[in-house]
Symmetry: C2
Subunit: 319 residues, 2 copies
């Protein structure tokens, strides 16, 4: 039994800019719904027994990283040179602690690497070889390169490179914006966020987007909101997208809905496609996007699990 | 001849948390003043002929990077393993374009690498080997490792490591907070910022602080302000320090002075030592710090060059 004041809410995304609706087969769409649902269940099971928001968002993102369908962890895309470089971050709104990693290949779950940086180091952000050395010291689970390889992602890279050779680069929306993330408000009123990505298909090696940047692809502050973003990362960095949602709430007294929608619309006006998921301390929820779709879902305390891809009604599953 | 409306202003910093006043010899202090003055002259000479803010802040930071006295470029400190890893960023407030690099050793002026990312790539942030490959492609000037080596910095590392072995780490304020930066408002009303650092002495390899993070150690937006920060980077990232100054101006209608002071005081309350330099479109200037001192200086259109370290009156030099 939970009151409105003390209930939890959890939202996840699996990237904005989806497979164009006309190309999306029913079976592929069903797999996306299943993946989102599994992530929501993992986080919900923690929140439903009074667990912490930071644990719920971490668990939800682990599930999405383990699912080869999403561009993070196991399903990460390839860079222009055929390597893989993953970025991830976590932030706890109760104390503004944060952890992030960028440019890593090895840890099975990059979000757990980010979590370790937050909890077991004096740093916030570790990159490349230094980040990997830290992960090894901390006993973070690594996977073989073959674990992260898939024919599908390799073909996506070849397709993109072939397009570039014809001077018609084909970074489709799905490929461009694959990122996963979660935000939660737990029964204690704490907010948290987590974000993880393989980046953009065919990206320049060394390129880091908004996912591991505090204030761009992630932000959490108990006084305002928790945000996880997905989209054309360069725009989200240049406009401080996640921080901007919080700033509008704190200083302009905007609602979460208005702040989140305004930021996503503002990015669209600048040419920055994408979306975000956000929750606030009152359990309000916002999931705006300026693309054709955004893989997304949410669950509220005592409620059903809801998932959607485009602007269709949410699919509601059993409690 | 310039009007108040159209005049320029340029401010620089060479790090907050200075040599304790009791230890600062007159000759060392004089060298710091000279270094700051040279940076201000370089930027001033661009602004005084109608040049752009982005060019002025870049030029000022190049001078500070070339000066072995400051912890950036040539004078970068060493990591715990005796390597050097530099971070830098630039941002143009007229169009929110930004460029940043992290974890690089090679380019003589990391700020020029960041500038190239901004102007000659589709990315905002490049790290490590990927960033170096980009710099080589772009013909950015590299220096030999010996260029970046100094006995003084090496001794600082040994001193810090010895302190850690005695479980009394000695990250002095100067060593901890060495970062350089510049902000400017040009005669056309455009704002820009640049930040560059070697990081913290004895840092974990792979550690990235706030200097290359848009919204943390740097921000520029013609509508509000340009900010370059220096301090305990983890706190500046967790609280989005540079973005926060702009948000308070935009949404809470705070003056630059109030916003900048509030952010630096707020960081102090959280345990985050440091400071920042900031300018706005009305040519207002703020240089707050919560440490014993901050190497800093400014010049306004038609005025003298002013430099200071602690809370003493500014030294004013000839026009």
């Amino acid at each position: 039994m939970t009151s409105t004041e003390t209930g939890f809410v959890l939202a996840v995304h699996g990237g904005a800019g989806t497979v164009p609706r006309v190309d999306a087969t029913a079976s592929l769409t069903a797999l996306h719904h299943t993946g989102l649902r599994r992530a929501l269940i993992a986080g919900r099971d923690i929140l439903a027994v009074g667990g912490r928001a930071i644990d719920a968002v971490t668990a939800a993102v682990v599930v999405l990283e383990d699912d080869p369908l999403f561009n993070a962890g196991r399903g990460s895309v390839f860079t222009a040179t055929g390597t893989q470089e993953m970025d991830a971050s976590v932030m706890d709104g109760s104390d503004h602690r944060a952890g992030a990693v960028a440019g890593i290949l090895g840890p099975r779950n990059p979000v757990l690497a980010a979590r370790a940086v937050m909890e077991r180091s004096n740093q916030v952000f570790l990159i490349g070889e230094g980040a990997l050395a830290f992960c090894r010291e901390q006993g973070i689970a690594f996977a073989e390169p073959s674990y992260f390889y898939s024919e599908k992602r390799w073909r996506e890279l070849q397709h993109e490179l072939a397009g570039r050779r014809r001077e018609m680069p084909i970074v489709t929306a799905e490929q461009g914006h694959g990122t996963v993330g979660a935000v939660a408000r737990d029964r204690h009123g704490n907010l948290a966020a987590a974000t993880s990505t393989g980046g953009m298909v065919g990206k320049t090696p060394g390129r880091v987007g908004d996912s591991p940047i505090i204030g761009a692809g992630i932000y959490a502050d108990n006084g305002t909101c928790a945000v996880s973003a997905t989209g054309h990362g360069e725009f989200f960095m240049r406009y401080g997208a996640a921080f901007e949602v919080a700033a509008r709430m704190r200083y302009a007294n905007q609602s979460l809905q208005l702040a989140a929608r305004s930021v996503v619309d503002g990015l669209a006006a600048m040419g920055g496609s994408g979306g975000l998921v956000a929750v606030d301390r009152t359990r309000a929820l916002a999931m705006p996007f300026n693309t054709a779709g955004m893989y997304r879902g949410y669950v509220q305390d005592g409620g059903a699990i809801h998932t959607a891809v485009y602007d269709e009604p949410y699919q509601a599953g059993p409690h």
